[in-house]
């Protein structure tokens, strides 16, 4: 050994050994036992999944071989391919290594393996049947090794073959390439075990010749894609042998079936193989275990549910009397597809789609190979869904096997070649991981290992150089499976001319409509028209659309109104035909595309906004762009607009545009669940403030100029009232305001009047950007009073006010624009009015009767009051009046109550002990609930009324979706009714002051 050569320990570590010292000593022990030496152990061990365990197992095996006189066979494997296969087995499967240690005489098997053995060449059935001393060629094999010994012998024979399969599997250079063959041979092996189980049963029950029993494999076993360890799903069918009655036949068949199953799954000296599950049989666990063919047929003709027919797709005779089994399959096969049709495939397809999505949506289960997002179940669902949609009219798709079905779908043009290949690759990889994991301890696991050690072993077992690389592929596979579901399902809906390549599948019209209807498009023909229009032509635009649309269609299908979403998408795309950024954004940002699809298929309000100003779509890629703008930034922007231009019309158009933009931003974020309705209302209010302030500045300027003045003779302010004052403005709300000025004389009054009129004109005239209705009816004297009033006049008016409702209205007064100092003076002037030292009993009475009258008069005709979220019992106005009463009564003494914001005032009232915590919670909850519903109704944007709950539970469900709460329509209805009922009871106490005795 030259000094440059590294020590054995280092070599071992490089080969992946963790505890080199121990392994080195174990190798020495092995050498000592066998009397020979392992050649280049580091090199040999580098092939093992778990070299440390492999060496330990080899040592145990050597000891066991020595003790049983099999040492020669073991030594003979040295340097042979058989020896290499045995080594990878010892490193890859602890359980099968243990098996070999228990049965060292099987070591010789590895010396006799045919070179280049194919799984299909193994006489699986013969090997297992001979294990129990039965003749595999006999018409009815009967075991000669019987009872507990027979059962153990069967299991040993099974595992002996399993060991061989696992060794070949682990030894394969490209395990994904042979995965389907492994699945087949495992299914055959399971069939052989059941066959041997039957042979044992026959030895037990001499009357077995009364029946011809066949075991039908279902599920993965029937489909010949079985795992190493998995429940084996079966159904039993038996016909009487000649000269025997059906009754005799079924009686003994039941015993045989039961015995055969127990031979596989009952505990014993040699451990059980797997569970035999017969619950897929007619009537499930309650039904008869064995039926004859006619009885099976009668059941499926009359009673079976659609999923039972789907299960039948996989049925295959695997053990016992194959002739009877084939009769069973032949008789039932015609029923399967006619049944699927009878039961209505649309609902089934939709139910399956939902199931797929539920799996995809599940956040946790990151390690689940089978059920997690992008796992095996997703692949199987996708393939089965397509089989279900198209298999009715195309018999070639009726394959039992997942890969077989995938190949058929591909070759018949229902899915694209690229997609099919990607799906297949992912499926094979997932199955290889599953096999490797199960093989290790022969356990029924589907979980990626959580520990570093476990991951390392799996990576080595499945041919990955590093754990990091394996995890990268794991991540990619799952992402691809999920993406491929959309691609495979929706891509072929695009018309033939829209194919991306010649490899691409394109469905005929009927098949495409079937798919669109299946996912929830009401007008499949219309949808096809939009799709054709979008993808038509040779432009770059059309070609990007072809890339995009499949996924978009899938997302539209998840929204409340897929048809509207697709139509809006077409309109938007036509409008932006020449905008490079638009399609690029959607192509490069999955987030933006998915969000756009959700908005268009859910919210009429946002759709309208986006159609007016399509460039806003760029926000969808970025949460920061969807967050409410900082007020300072908007005020700055408005300021800059006003300074930039002297042209009044230009300025106001820019400002109105700014408001439209911010409303769209807020609404989009609201629908996407990025902000709640209270925040949204605050933002909507703030944006109105900026616009009105700008409009006031322009109006002052204009009037000053028309009057030929140097400077305005007065200062002026706008006071927000009502919900606007309370920062609770809705998307479609008017702005309630009043105008105040400071200045004296007739000129001042007329100047102010003109400014107010001009401000309204600026905001309300029809223009390219949406306006804002200004409602000044809450001013002193209402419509009869002057539009603008001087501060002095206001003070005087409020000083001799007579109506308590005016003081109440002032609770919501919040200066929102104009001269700062005037604003402050106005607030000082009204504070003594709205926060009086005492609320006279007469005023209280007046308020209460006014409210009671409003309840009966203000509600629109024909509306169920309980469904009116604003004026109905326990609605917004109940809560607001209650809070306002508390303010009138207590704000003088408790300044914390002096706010225009309902929830702030309510919280302050709790903090000051003016209302019970429970009552306040009930009021706050109902108020927020009603606000959420109003917001959702406005965002949904169908119908004019945003205050009335829809009667249709489906529309209620859409609202729940927009509100981002997980409820059905009925649940939302029930929850709101409950919240408002409670709020009403509190209102009756807090506002009306009714006590128990008053009732």
């Amino acid at each position: 050994m030259s000094s440059r050569e590294v020590s054995l320990a280092t070599q071992l570590r490089r080969a992946g050994v963790l505890d080199a010292a121990r392994v080195e000593s174990q190798i020495e022990q092995i050498n000592a036992i066998t009397g020979t030496y392992l050649e280049d152990p580091a090199h040999a061990l580098s092939y093992l999944a778990d070299p440390d365990a492999g060496v330990l197992q080899l040592l145990r095996l050597a000891e066991s071989a020595r003790d049983s006189g099999n040492l020669d066979a073991l030594v003979a494997l040295r340097g042979t391919e058989g020896g290499a296969k045995m080594s990878v087995l010892l490193g890859g499967s602890l359980a099968l290594g243990d098996f070999l240690v228990r049965h060292p005489d099987f070591v010789a098997d590895f010396g006799n393996l045919p070179v280049g053995e194919k799984f299909a060449d193994i006489d699986v059935r013969g090997l297992v049947l001979r294990g129990v001393g039965a003749d595999p060629n006999a018409e009815v094999p009967v075991a000669t090794v019987t009872g507990a010994a027979g059962q153990a012998a069967m299991r040993v024979a099974y595992r002996r073959v399993l060991m061989r399969v696992a060794a070949e599997d682990l030894f394969a250079k490209v395990p994904t390439a042979i995965m389907h063959e492994v699945g087949s041979v495992l299914a055959d092996l399971a069939g052989a075990a059941l066959d041997a189980g039957l042979a044992l049963a026959r030895a037990e029950y001499p009357t077995h010749d009364a029946t011809r029993l066949c075991i039908i494999g279902m599920g993965k076993c029937g489909a010949r894609e079985l795992n190493y360890v998995s429940d084996v799903d079966v159904i039993y069918v038996a016909e009487p042998a000649e000269g025997h009655s059906d009754e005799e036949s079924l009686k003994v068949a039941g015993k045989l079936a039961n015995y055969a199953a127990r031979a596989c799954d009952s505990p014993g000296i040699e451990p059980a193989l797997w569970e035999v599950d017969a619950n897929l049989r007619p009537e499930g666990g309650d039904g008869a275990l064995v039926r004859n063919v006619a009885s099976h047929r009668a059941y499926y003709e009359r009673w079976a549910e659609t999923w039972e027919f789907q299960a039948l797709l996989k049925a295959r005779p695997i053990a016992g009397d194959i002739d009877v089994g084939e009769r069973y399959v032949d008789e039932l096969a015609p029923l399967i597809w006619s049944a699927v049709e009878r039961e209505g495939f649309v609902e089934n397809a939709q139910a399956m789609r939902r199931r797929v999505e539920e799996h995809v949506a599940r956040g946790e289960a990151d390690r689940q190979i089978k059920l997690g997002p992008g796992g095996l179940r997703d692949v199987e669902f996708t393939v089965q869904l397509l089989q279900l949609v198209h298999g009715r009219s195309d018999e070639s798709l009726r394959s039992r096997n997942t890969l077989g079905a995938l190949h058929a779908l591909r070759s018949r043009g229902y899915v694209g070649r690229v997609q099919a290949a990607t799906m297949e690759r992912s499926y094979r990889q997932l199955r290889v991981w599953e096999h490797r994991l199960q093989m290790r301890k022969l356990s029924r696991t589907h979980l990626m290992p959580a520990t570093d050690a476990g991951k390392r072993v799996l990576a080595r077992a499945s041919g990955f150089a590093t754990v990091e690389y394996m995890e990268e592929v794991w991540h990619d596979v799952r992402r691809e499976v999920r993406a491929m579901h959309l691609e495979m399902f929706y891509r072929p809906i695009l018309p033939v001319v829209a194919r991306l390549s010649a490899d691409e599948a394109a469905l005929d019209d009927d098949a495409a409509r079937a798919r669109l209807t299946a996912v929830g498009f009401g007008d499949a023909t219309g949808a096809q028209r939009h799709i054709a229009a979008l993808t038509d032509g040779v432009s770059r635009r059309a070609s990007i659309q072809r890339q995009l649309l499949p996924a978009m269609i899938g997302w539209f299908a998840q929204g409340a109104d897929p048809d509207a979403g697709l139509l809006a998408f077409r309109q938007l795309s036509e409008q932006l035909e020449n905008a490079q950024w638009y399609l690029k954004l959607l192509r490069d940002s999955r987030t933006a595309a998915e969000r756009l699809a959700r908005l268009l298929s859910t919210s009429g309000y946002v759709t309208k906004a986006l159609l007016i100003s399509a460039q806003d779509i760029t926000w969808l890629d970025n949460d920061d762009d969807l967050a409410p703008r900082d007020p300072a930034r908007l005020w700055g922007e408005a300021d800059a607009i006003l300074k930039r231009s002297a042209d009044a019309e230009q300025c106001i158009t820019a400002l109105r545009g700014m408001r439209r933009r911010e409303l769209a931003r807020t609404a989009a974020a609201d629908v996407l669940g990025l902000l709640d309705s209270v925040e949204a209302a605050k933002t909507v209010t703030m944006v109105a403030d900026v616009l009105i302030d700008g409009a006031l500045r322009i109006a002052m300027d204009t009037v000053t100029k028309t009057k030929g003045l140097e400077a305005p003779p007065i200062t002026m302010a706008v006071i927000a009232m009502g919900r606007y004052g309370g920062q609770e403005m809705g998307y479609n709300s008017d702005a309630d305001v009043q105008f105040v000025f400071d200045g004296e004389g007739q000129d001042a009054q007329s100047f102010a009047q003109q400014v107010a009129t001009e401000l309204r004109r600026l905001l309300q005239t029809v223009g390219s950007q949406p306006g804002l209705e200004i409602d000044a009816d809450l001013r002193p004297e209402g419509k009869n009073g002057p539009l603008a009033r001087s501060l002095e006049s206001c003070r005087e008016y409020y000083g001799r006010w007579s109506d308590p409702w005016e003081a109440q209205a002032l609770l919501r007064a919040r200066p929102c624009a104009g001269d700062k100092e005037l604003c402050d003076r106005f607030v000082k002037a009204i504070d003594p009015v709205r926060y009086p030292p005492e609320l006279p009993a007469s005023a209280l009475k007046q308020m209460r009767s006014l409210k009671a009258r409003m309840e009966s008069e203000r509600l629109p005709r024909g509306v169920d009051p309980r469904r009116h979220v604003k004026l109905g019992p326990g609605g917004l106005s109940d809560v607001e009046w209650s809070v306002q009463l508390l303010q009138l009564q207590h704000a003088h003494e408790h300044p914390a109550l002096r706010t225009t914001v309902t929830l702030e005032a309510l919280n302050a009232a709790v903090a000051e002990g003016l209302v019970e915590v429970n009552d306040a919670e009930v009021l706050g909850e109902a108020w927020k609930f009603a606000t959420d519903i109003r917001g959702a109704l406005a965002l949904r944007g169908v119908g004019k009324r945003t205050d009335v709950l829809p009667n249709d539970v489906r529309q209620m469900k859409v609202l729940a979706d927009i509100m981002n709460v997980r409820m059905t329509g009925s649940e939302l209805d029930e929850q709101y009714t409950r919240a408002s009922r409670r709020a009403r009871l509190v209102t009756e106490r807090v506002f009306f002051g009714w006590t128990e005795d008053d009732r």
């Binding site: 009359r302 009667n951 249709d952 029930e974 009922r981």
Partner: protein
């Protein structure tokens, strides 16, 4: 298609059933029936039978009229009455919205939801009602009803019509799979009582609906008239439906504890405490008519005050004594409910009140040993025996503030009951009764 549905279809075929009555119950507890042909049955199981729900009291709001009735195959029963011998059967239905969601306003669903809640706590709920009713000679317009006999409690009237009636009725009930525990003549003239053998509450509610139907049918067959009106005769005792309740955890009676006072487990005591606490709130459900309060406050063993006692017939909640060693039959008897109540809603609120007692760990007050009717008002107040509501109006006002009842019934049923009962009270108050005319007209 499950096994029970299969069984029903097979029986319909084998027994030559010509039509099937689908039964369901409106919010007031009145039985509704839709008849369908056997050919429609499969569809009824799969998709339900559509009907106009707005025609049924309390089931829907007018604008969502379409509802689906889906028969519950476990309730399949051949109808034994005469004239329909060849071929009628019935099943109770659950009501669904057109979307396939259970209708929140279906009384059967209300009870199912509440039973489900109990089951989440590990309990199943059993009941056993003693149903009282009157047998009258055929009604004559404008005249007071005439009882068929003048016998009294446990009287065995030789060749009595009532005796014959009970025998026929019981046979018919047994034919319909409803086991009868006991029957006898009650205290009032023409008044009878039949006790049903205990069963889980949903099945029992179905049984009670069937029972009322059978009793009315048999009476008509025999030229009589049967009534479950709570107080048909001003001078006779009212017809109550004393209901024995027990909770089981698996096979074990959760109310029983050997050696404890009255053999009552802590669960039983908490359950009783819950019932007592919420009794005034649930009275508008268990005693739902104006007339119910004439029974409740008409003396003669009707319980007017909230208290409990062991074998105290004046108490609202009574612990019946049972033979030692029969722990499984430990139970609690609620004596307010009357024979005209909606059994689904009543069982639901009674169960909910009891469960609330368990959930909140309420403490059972001391039992009443005196005859509560004999006490003076001050004595009762001093001992903390609250009265039950004095009228339907009082009962509705108390119920309106009950979270327990609102949550149990669901907001929609709750709201309907409130409005319906207010309207009933208003209509009643608008009457000028013969009593008033007799008392006031001559002198005022």
């Amino acid at each position: 298609m499950d096994k029970q549905q299969e069984y029903v279809l097979r029986s319909v075929e084998e027994r030559d059933i010509r039509f099937i009555r689908l039964w369901f119950t409106d919010v007031l507890g009145i039985l509704k029936s839709v008849a369908i042909a056997p050919a429609e049955l499969e569809n009824a199981f799969d998709e339900g039978i559509g009907f106009d729900g707005s025609a049924v009291e309390g089931l829907t709001r007018v604008y969502e009229a379409d509802m689906l009735a889906k028969p519950d195959p476990s309730t399949f029963q051949i109808l034994p009455w005469r004239g329909e011998r060849q071929g009628a059967a019935r099943m109770f239905c659950d009501i669904y919205t057109p979307d396939g969601e259970p209708a929140l306003s279906d009384p059967r669903q209300v009870l199912k939801r509440t039973l489900d809640k109990a089951s989440k706590l590990g309990f199943s709920f059993y009941t056993h009602p003693e149903i009282e009713f009157y047998l009258f000679k055929p009604l004559e317009e404008g005249k007071l009803p005439k009882p068929i006999d003048q016998a009294g409690y446990f009287d065995n009237v030789p060749r009595g019509t009532a005796h014959e009636f009970r025998r026929t009725a019981i046979t018919m009930l047994e034919n319909m799979g409803i086991s009868v525990e006991f029957s006898h003549h009650e205290a009032g003239p023409g008044q009878n009582e039949i006790d049903l053998r205990y069963a889980d509450a949903l099945q029992m509610a179905d049984n009670i609906m069937t029972f009322r139907m059978v009793i009315k049918e048999v009476a008509l067959e025999q030229g009589l008239f049967a009534s479950f009106m709570p107080k048909p005769l001003a001078t006779g005792p009212g017809s109550g439906m004393h209901t024995h309740m027990s909770l089981f955890e698996g096979d074990r009676n959760a109310f029983f504890e050997a050696g404890a006072p009255h053999q009552l487990s802590p669960v039983a005591r908490q359950f009783m405490a819950g019932i007592l606490k919420h009794a005034p709130e649930i009275t508008a459900i268990t005693n739902q008519y104006v007339n119910s309060y004439k029974r409740l406050w008409g003396g003669a063993e009707a319980p007017s005050y909230v208290c409990w006692g062991s074998n105290n017939r004046s108490a609202l909640v009574r612990i019946p004594t049972h033979k030692p060693g029969k722990g499984q039959s430990t139970r609690v008897e609620y004596r307010a409910m009357d024979s005209a109540a909606n059994p689904y809603l009543s069982f639901a609120v009674m169960l909910a009140a009891g469960l609330k007692g368990i959930e909140d760990g309420l403490v059972l007050p001391d039992g009443a040993e005196d005859d509560v009717w004999e006490l003076s008002n001050s004595e009762r107040r001093a001992m903390g025996y609250e009265p039950l509501p004095a009228s339907l109006s009082d009962a509705v006002d108390i119920m309106e503030r009950s979270e327990l009842v609102a949550e149990t019934l669901g907001e929609r049923v709750f709201d309907f009951v409130l409005r319906n009962k207010r309207a009933e009270w208003d209509a009643y108050r608008a009457q000028v009764t013969p009593y008033e005319l007799e008392q006031y007209l001559p002198v005022l």
